[in-house]
């Protein structure tokens, strides 16, 4: 009886271990796969000519993705400029000011916001944001600013939920100590609560950036996808993700390889961001 039970325990443990390790395996496979597909071109054309090349004409032997790297970073920072203050204010409101009932309505609504498919965001962008930008700021409307606005909204759930959790985890006693010293609610929030939750809030920004830089569908719908570095807020642009999604369907030969090298660059950027975010979260828990 005892032996049977311990055998069962061992089987369960082994199966669970395999499942748990499989996620690691998938990550590893994805990385290997993209590396194998993309690296030959790096060797052939040269890392410098790809990353710092200005001209993307894959059928003519130019594989420069520098404008797309810059564009990806621009929309990501644009999204952060819009999403970070909005998201942080919302997290502060939810954790410090809203009543229990309102919190119970707002939190699921925010989670729903995260569940809306990105094509719907793109759709809203095309219908509302693009004409708005065209009419008031000029240009075609398919632009850096339109993309930043939509991405800023899309990263809100990430920023709000992680910031909210880290603000809520600030011990009540910190707040009480501050109130007892004659601080107002707002003084307590900006002098005690937010600084104590700092690393979690920072991590939420970085994870939001990861989401923004990886977003594809909504971006290709509203970015305009022009192959140049945008010089103003109303200029169109093409991101790394957009480049892959737009061309992969018909690309062959070196062109196809060029898209895989775009993927490698994207993967490296996202992994770096995740690493920084994890570092921030770890520091908080210490």
């Amino acid at each position: 009886m005892n032996e049977k039970a311990s055998l069962k325990e061992r089987v369960v443990k082994t199966v669970l271990t395999i499942f748990a390790l499989s996620s690691l395996l998938f990550l590893f496979l994805i990385f290997i796969f993209i590396l194998i597909e993309g690296s030959p071109l790096f060797l052939k054309v040269g890392l410098k000519n790809i990353i710092f090349g200005f001209k993307w004409a894959p059928t003519k032997g130019s594989f420069g993705i520098f404008p797309m790297i810059i564009s990806s970073f621009l929309v990501t920072f644009g999204a952060l400029i819009i999403g970070a203050p909005l998201g942080l204010s919302c997290a502060i409101y939810l954790s410090e000011y809203s009543g229990k009932r309102l919190k119970m309505i707002l939190k699921p609504a925010l989670e729903l916001l995260a569940g809306i498919p990105s094509v719907v965001y793109g759709f809203l962008g095309v219908i509302y944001i693009v004409p708005l930008v065209r009419n008031y700021l000029g240009g075609s409307g398919f632009s850096l600013i339109s993309t930043s606005i939509i991405l800023g909204i899309m990263i809100l759930p990430t920023i709000i939920s992680i910031s909210f959790d880290s603000i809520m985890s600030v011990p009540k006693t910190y707040r009480e100590g501050s109130y007892a010293m004659g601080a107002t609610k707002w003084q307590t929030i900006y002098k005690i609560v937010v600084p104590s939750a700092r690393s979690g809030i920072l991590a939420s920004f970085i994870l939001g950036m990861g989401r923004a830089i990886g977003e594809t569908m909504a971006v290709i719908m509203i970015a305009g996808n022009a192959l140049k570095i945008p010089m103003s807020l109303t200029d169109p642009l093409r991101t790394l993700t957009g480049n892959i999604a737009l061309e992969l369907a018909y690309a062959t030969g070196d062109h196809r390889l060029g898209l895989f090298s775009t993927g490698i660059v994207l993967l490296v950027i996202i992994m770096a961001l995740n690493y920084i975010a994890n570092f921030g979260i770890k520091r908080r828990s210490q």
């Binding site: 910190y174 009480e176 100590g177 501050s178 109130y179 007892a180 010293m181 601080a183 107002t184 600084p195």
Partner: protein, 251 residues
């Protein structure tokens, strides 16, 4: 008795449950008054009503009056933030801010708008001396307050309360987590401080109440059972419950 705080028929309800059942008590100026009683006696509720920290709880209802120098602090026109600068509080568990010793004490004065460096230094030094902590930390005011021992942290919390220049100091079981030596230092500080401040000490430790308070009150299940000079309460209590409590029969 020169009265500083006058509590009149105070009733406090938490979620419709009566935590304080009509308390009437006068607290003497420049004395140490001890509040004692077992858990659930309402002594902590009473002091969190006096400093209006109770405002942060959900579902409370308060009836009655608390007068400090004849001003009703439960009146709607009273700003709880300025009240808390007048009524300082030291909690059971010392929670310093995640900052340096200096900044912990300068926090309150800065909130009041004092930014002058020399003035802040004077307040910090003065407060630390009054809390009997100055000699131990004067050379390292810029280290993190978390590096101090538990007893030092509690005296730091006392010092930062003093930096507010309050008139009243409430201490909610300030020595419950401290060793006897740290406790003795806090008690020594309180004995000096009562010249300038009106002090209320909440404690489960009847010996401590007997040692350092001038008046003591015994609370039980939300009621004030007995109140008088500490000497009288501890040598000749009129109520059976009080006698049982101070002789250690329950609580």
């Amino acid at each position: 008795m020169d009265i500083k705080i006058k509590v009149k028929n105070l009733r406090v309800f938490f979620h419709k449950q009566e935590a304080l059942k009509g308390i009437t008590i006068n607290v003497a100026r420049n004395m140490i008054t001890g509040f004692m009683g077992p858990a659930g006696s309402g002594k902590s509720t009473l002091i969190s009503t006096i400093n209006r920290m109770i405002d942060f709880e959900d579902n409370i209802k308060i009836e009655g009056n608390i007068y400090i120098d004849d001003v009703d602090i439960l009146d709607g026109s009273i700003n709880p933030v300025s009240l808390r600068r007048q009524v300082g509080t030291v909690f059971a568990v010392p929670i310093p801010l995640q900052r340096s010793i200096f900044e912990n004490i300068a926090y309150g004065p800065r909130l009041k708008g004092i930014n002058d460096k020399a003035e802040l230094h004077r307040i910090v030094a003065d407060s630390l001396k009054k809390a009997f902590l100055w000699d131990e930390v004067k050379d390292r005011l810029d280290i993190s307050a978390n590096k101090l021992s538990g007893g030092q942290q509690q005296r730091l919390c006392l010092a930062r309360t003093l930096a507010l220049k309050p008139e009243i100091i409430l201490l909610d079981e300030p020595c419950s987590g401290l060793d006897p030596i740290s406790t003795a230092k806090i008690e020594e500080a309180l004995n000096e401080l009562k010249r300038e401040y009106t002090i209320i000490l909440v404690s489960n430790n009847t010996k401590q109440i007997a040692r350092i308070t001038d008046y003591s009150a015994f609370f039980y299940l939300g009621e004030l059972i007995e109140y008088g000079t500490t000497e009288k309460i501890f040598t000749n209590p009129t109520q059976k419950k009080t006698e049982d409590y101070i002789s250690g029969k329950f609580g």
